[in-house]
């Protein structure tokens, strides 16, 4: 099938979808299959009419029977792994550990990440990275930023999932408006 005709058929089906949506919203008693089939055939007729005289062996496209399959799509539960890891990383970067500072009177706070990583990797680097020359400490200081990034990504994903879910809730996946959905949109 040539590409142009394919596009015209897809457009015809999309137009039929919109018409059907409009009709069933305004009618209390209806047969969805019949309305849809009729609407698709009306739209396909426009293509048939424009092609009938061009070729001798031109085919006539029409819809005989429509079977509508009711598909229940289940929204996959959001995976909170990134949030959990992100939160852990941010917490690991907080100055939660208190230790006595040289003498009485003051205590300073250090983070879990910095404390243990600087012990594991006490090597000094030639340049300062994240304000420190100690390799383990630089890694310890990077960890909460990784955590914040993971949390931000998860929040963005949640917003996208929420928006998608809202769209799916609307009838025919058309986003509630007649202009929504493409030719390949889900029914």
């Amino acid at each position: 099938m040539d590409y142009l005709i394919e596009q015209q058929i897809l457009e015809a089906i999309e137009n039929a979808r919109k018409e059907t949506e409009w009709k069933i919203k305004n009618e209390s008693v209806y047969s969805l299959n019949d309305i849809l089939a009729k609407s698709i055939n009306n739209n396909l007729d426009k293509i048939n009419f424009s092609y009938q005289d061009r070729k001798e062996d031109s085919a006539y496209v029409y819809i005989d029977n429509i079977e509508i399959e009711h598909v229940i799509s289940t929204v996959q539960e959001h995976d909170y792994t990134k949030s959990a890891i992100g939160t852990s990383f941010v917490i690991a970067g907080q100055p939660l550990l208190k230790k006595r500072f040289v003498m009485q009177g003051s205590a300073k706070g250090t983070s879990i990440a910095s404390k243990y990583l600087s012990k594991a990797l006490p090597q000094k680097m030639p340049t300062r990275i994240l304000g420190t020359r100690v390799l383990g400490r630089a890694l310890g200081r990077a960890i909460p930023y990784v955590g914040w990034a993971l949390l931000a990504i998860d929040v963005i994903e949640l917003v996208i999932e929420y928006n998608t879910e809202e769209k799916e809730k609307s009838f025919f996946g058309g986003g509630g408006s007649f202009g929504g959905g493409g030719a390949g949109g889900s029914w």
């Binding site: 205590a107 983070s111 910095s114 300062r128 304000g131 420190t132 020359r133 909460p144 930023y145 914040w148």
Partner: protein, 107 residues
């Protein structure tokens, strides 16, 4: 004490700060803040002060670290904490370190 600071030779302190912070400081440098200008905070600031204390024989037993330096914390958390009215830290400057060497104690 001002006169004493003026005539003292702080080359050893400058060398020490260069080794610890990678910043080149001399007599003509402005009075830089250790945390704000040299970006030394948290465990680095702690290590610096302990080394400084030993190197220049300065008593830091009464020095309140939390009053002058932020703990090991990331910039985002610090920003959020500052939004909730966190008490701002007092600057510890090069001049303070010089004075402490003269006095033999940092408070």
């Amino acid at each position: 004490m001002v006169n004493k600071i003026q005539f003292m030779d702080f080359i050893k302190l400058y060398q020490f700060l260069k080794a610890e912070t990678t910043y080149s400081i001399d007599d003509n440098s402005s009075n830089l803040s250790i945390e704000k200008d040299l970006k030394i905070y948290g465990d680095d600031a702690y290590d610096l002060l302990v080394k400084y204390s030993k190197e220049f024989n300065v008593d830091i037993s009464n020095f309140n670290f939390n009053k002058y330096f932020n703990s090991e914390i990331d910039g985002i958390s610090l920003f959020i904490l500052n939004l909730f009215g966190r008490k701002k830290k007092i600057d510890l400057t090069i001049k303070d370190l010089k004075e402490a060497i003269v006095l033999g104690k940092l408070e």
